[in-house]
C-alpha cells in the first residue's frame, strides 16, 4: 500500500489521464547524481531550510486538522462526556458498536437509505457526464460547444443551500412551475416535501448540479484522441458507431473506471449537506443517511460514543472499499487510482 502510493507519487501523479510526456519534461529528465549523496540529515535540513519553511504552514494544517483528529476516534470506545473530556471518560470497550452489530433500527434505516441512494446514483447519475461529454464532443461548432460548456459548468459552483433553495422555488407547491400551471389551468404536481419522492428529488438535484462539471475530465480525455485513428478507421470502412465503439470509448475507459473506483470508495457518503438541508421537510425515515445519523445522534443528540463508533466503521469501510475497487481494477487490467 505504502509502496504503491509512493510509486504513484514518484510517477508524479495520474499519468494515464494525460498525454505522453515530452522527453524533456520533469519526470523524463536524465538521471543525475543525487544531490543528497554523502550528506547528513542535519546538513540537508540546513540546506533545505527555505523549502521546509515554505512547506511548514501547510504541513501543520494537515497534521492538526487531518491526522491529529484521528486520535479522537478513541471516544468510539468510551462513554464520552464532553465535560469530562477524553482522559476522564469511562472506557466501555466495544459497547458503542452494539448499534451496528445488534442492528439498531435507526442505524439500519440510515444504512439502508445510504445504500439505496448510492445504488440509484451509481446507476443513473454516474454515466450521465460521459453521455453528455460524447454529445458535446460531437458538436460541430467550437463556439457553440464552448458556450454550452460555460453554462453547464456553472451549477457546480453553487452551494447546496442555493441549489436546494432554487429547487424549492422552481418545483415547490407554491413554486414557479406550479404557479405557471395554476395560472394556465393545468394540473399541478408536488415533489418537494414528499417522503416517497425524496430520493428522486435529491438525485435530480445531483444531476442538475454536477453533470456538466463531470464532463470536463471526459472531454479532456476525448480531446487527446489521435485524429489519425479515426481517419484510418474511416478508410477501412468503419461506420460512425464502430468508430465510437472502438476508438472513442476505449479512450475514456480508464478515466471512467478511475472515477467509478472513487465513487465506490464514497459509497457510504451521500450528499450530507444536501440532505441535512431538506431533512426537516420529509422526516428521517426517508432521509436519514449515515452521515446525518452521526450528526443527529452525536452532535445534536449527545450520544458521542455510538456516533463516533459509526463514523469510525464508516471511515474504515470507505478505505477498504477504495482499496478493494482498485484491486478489482487491477484484475481487469486497469491502472486504478494507484499503480502496483
Amino acid at each position: 500500500m505504502t509502496e504503491t502510493i509512493k510509486d504513484r507519487a514518484k510517477a508524479s501523479g495520474p499519468n494515464r489521464t494525460r498525454g505522453p510526456r515530452s522527453p524533456g519534461s520533469a519526470t523524463g529528465k536524465p538521471k543525475r547524481p543525487s544531490p543528497n549523496a554523502n550528506r547528513t540529515a542535519l546538513a540537508r535540513i540546513k540546506r533545505d531550510r527555505m523549502l521546509l519553511l515554505l512547506a511548514l504552514p501547510g504541513m501543520a494544517v494537515v497534521a492538526i486538522f487531518h491526522y491529529f483528529p484521528l486520535l479522537g476516534n478513541v471516544i468510539a470506545f468510551q462513554n464520552f462526556q464532553p465535560f469530562l473530556g477524553i482522559s476522564q471518560s469511562e472506557w466501555v470497550g466495544l459497547d458503542n458498536f452494539d448499534v451496528i452489530f445488534n442492528g439498531d433500527p435507526r442505524f439500519l434505516n440510515a444504512l439502508a437509505n445510504t445504500l439505496i441512494i448510492t445504488l440509484i446514483q451509481v446507476l443513473f447519475v454516474f454515466p450521465l457526464p460521459l453521455a453528455l461529454a460524447l454529445l458535446l464532443n460531437s458538436v460541430l461548432s467550437e463556439r457553440v460547444k464552448r458556450g454550452v460548456q460555460s453554462v453547464l459548468y456553472l451549477p457546480h459552483f453553487l452551494s447546496w443551500v442555493i441549489v436546494v433553495a432554487l429547487f424549492q422555488q422552481v418545483l415547490g407547491n407554491a413554486g414557479m412551475l406550479n404557479t405557471f400551471f395554476r395560472e394556465h389551468d393545468m394540473a399541478t404536481f408536488s415533489i418537494i416535501g414528499v417522503p416517497e419522492l425524496f430520493k428522486l428529488l435529491i438525485t435530480s438535484q445531483v444531476i442538475w448540479k454536477d453533470t456538466g462539471w463531470g464532463t470536463i475530465i471526459f472531454l479532456a480525455a476525448l480531446s487527446r484522441v489521435d485524429m489519425n485513428l479515426y481517419e484510418a478507421a474511416a478508410m477501412d470502412g468503419a461506420g460512425a458507431w464502430r468508430r465510437t465503439w472502438h476508438i472513442t470509448l476505449p479512450a475514456v475507459r480508464s478515466v471512467f473506471i478511475l472515477l467509478l473506483i472513487l465513487r465506490l470508495g464514497d459509497a457510504l457518503t451521500v450528499g450530507f449537506e444536501q440532505i441535512v438541508l431538506q431533512q426537516g421537510a420529509v422526516g428521517k425515515a426517508a432521509s436519514e443517511v449515515l452521515d446525518t445519523y452521526v450528526y443527529n445522534n452525536g452532535i445534536v443528540g449527545g450520544n458521542w460514543g455510538t456516533s463516533a463508533a459509526v463514523g469510525l466503521v464508516k471511515g474504515v469501510v470507505g478505505v477498504v472499499l477504495v482499496l478493494g475497487a482498485n484491486k478489482l481494477a487491477h484484475v481487469f487490467g486497469e491502472r486504478g487510482v494507484y499503480s502496483r
Binding site: K6, G13, T17, R18, G24, S25, A26, K29, D48, M50, L51, L52, L54, A55, L56, G58, M59, V61, V62, I64, F65, H66, P69, G72, I75, I86, L132, L140, S141, E142, V148, V151, Y153, F157, S159, V161, A165, L166, Q168, Q169, T179, F180, W208, G212, I216, M227, Y230, G239, T244, T248, G265, L277, V294, G298, I299, W304, S307, A308, G311, V322
Partner: protein, 301 residues
C-alpha cells in the same frame, strides 16, 4: 479554424443526419435552459413589485416595471448585510491564506531533492483517502477553542490536498532549466519561487484560488457546526433560514425605517441572487483557465 473542426467531427461521427443534429440541439438546448431559466425567474421576481407578484400569482418570469426595493431592504444594514460582510471576509482572508499555504507546500513538494519530501507528499496524498470523521473533527475544533470563532471556518479547510496535488503537478511540468539557470545566477529557492515559478503559474493559481474562494463562500455545514451565535452567521446560514426554511423577514431583520416591506418572495429572491452574484462575476474570467489549469493536474477528486 471552423474547417478543421468540421472535419474533426465528421471523422468522429460521420456526416451527421438532420435528425441527429436536431436531437443534439434539443438535448443541449434543454440542458442549458434548465440552468438559465431558474436564474431569469429569480432575477425577475427579485425586481418585481407587490402588484406584479400578486398579478402573477407568486413568481414573475419577466418583470415589466423593475424596482430595487428588495435589494435596498436587505442591503440596508440588517441580517443579510452583516452576513454578506462576514462571508466576504471569510472568503477573502481564507482564500489568501489557503493560496499562500498551498503554493508553499506544493512548491516544496515539487522539489524532489528536499529533505523528507517523500513522507510529506505521502502524508498529503493519504488525506484524500480518508476523513477523520465529523465527531473527532468537532472535538479538535472545540479543544482549540475555535467554537463560535470565524477561524473555525478557515483553519480546518485551509489546505485541500487535491489543490496541492494539482499545483504541484503544474510546478513539476515547468521547464527545470529555467530554475536551474536562476540558481546558477545565485538565486535562492524563495527567489526562484517568486520571480520564476509564480509568474509562469498565473493560470493555475487563478483556478485554485477560485476553488478555494468558492469553497469558503459556499461553506454551510462547518458554519452550522461551529458557529453558535446568529449574529456571526455567514450568508449561507442566513440563506437557509430565510429562503430554504422560509422564515419571514421582519422589520428588525432588515433594519428598515418605515413600515412598507417589499414582498417576501422578492426579498428571498434578492438574497438568493446576492449569494450567487460573486460567483457570476468571477466565473467568466476564470472559466477559460479550467481546462488549462485543472486538467494538467489530471484527476478531479
Amino acid at each position: 479554424m471552423s474547417d478543421i473542426t468540421v472535419t474533426r467531427s465528421n471523422l468522429v461521427f460521420g456526416r451527421p443526419s438532420l435528425i441527429a443534429r436536431g436531437g443534439r440541439a434539443v438535448v443541449l438546448g434543454a440542458a442549458c435552459l434548465a440552468v438559465i431559466l431558474p436564474f431569469i425567474a429569480v432575477i425577475s421576481t427579485s425586481l418585481a413589485s407587490q402588484e406584479e407578484i400578486s398579478r402573477a400569482g407568486g413568481f414573475v418570469f419577466w418583470v415589466t416595471d423593475p424596482t430595487f426595493d428588495a435589494y435596498r431592504a436587505v442591503l440596508s444594514g440588517g441580517v443579510v448585510t452583516r452576513s454578506v460582510i462576514v462571508s466576504l471576509g471569510i472568503a477573502g482572508v481564507g482564500t489568501a491564506l489557503s493560496v499562500l499555504c498551498t503554493i508553499g507546500l506544493a512548491y516544496a513538494l515539487s522539489r524532489t531533492s528536499m529533505y523528507a519530501q517523500k513522507p510529506m507528499l505521502l502524508a498529503v496524498l493519504f488525506t484524500l483517502l480518508f476523513s477523520p470523521g465529523m465527531i473527532p473533527m468537532y472535538l479538535v475544533v472545540k479543544q482549540l477553542g475555535l467554537i463560535d470563532s470565524y477561524w473555525a471556518l478557515i483553519l480546518p479547510v485551509l489546505i485541500n490536498a487535491f489543490n496541492v496535488i494539482v499545483m504541484r503537478e503544474f510546478f513539476l511540468d515547468l521547464p527545470a532549466e529555467l530554475m536551474e539557470s536562476a540558481k546558477i545566477d545565485g538565486a535562492g529557492e524563495f527567489l526562484v519561487l517568486t520571480r520564476i515559478v509564480l509568474p509562469l503559474s498565473k493560470a493555475v493559481i487563478a483556478v485554485i484560488a477560485l476553488f478555494y474562494a468558492v469553497a469558503y463562500w459556499n461553506s454551510f455545514f462547518n458554519a452550522l457546526l461551529y458557529i453558535n451565535s446568529p449574529e456571526k452567521w455567514p450568508l449561507q446560514l442566513v440563506l437557509r433560514t430565510y429562503v430554504v426554511n422560509e422564515t419571514p423577514m421582519g422589520v428588525d431583520d432588515l433594519a428598515m425605517e418605515g413600515s412598507s416591506l417589499p414582498p417576501q418572495v422578492a426579498i428571498q429572491m434578492a438574497i438568493l441572487l446576492i449569494s450567487v452574484l460573486p460567483m457570476l462575476i468571477v466565473y467568466p474570467f476564470i472559466q477559460k483557465h479550467f481546462t488549462k489549469g485543472l486538467l494538467i493536474g489530471g484527476v478531479k477528486g
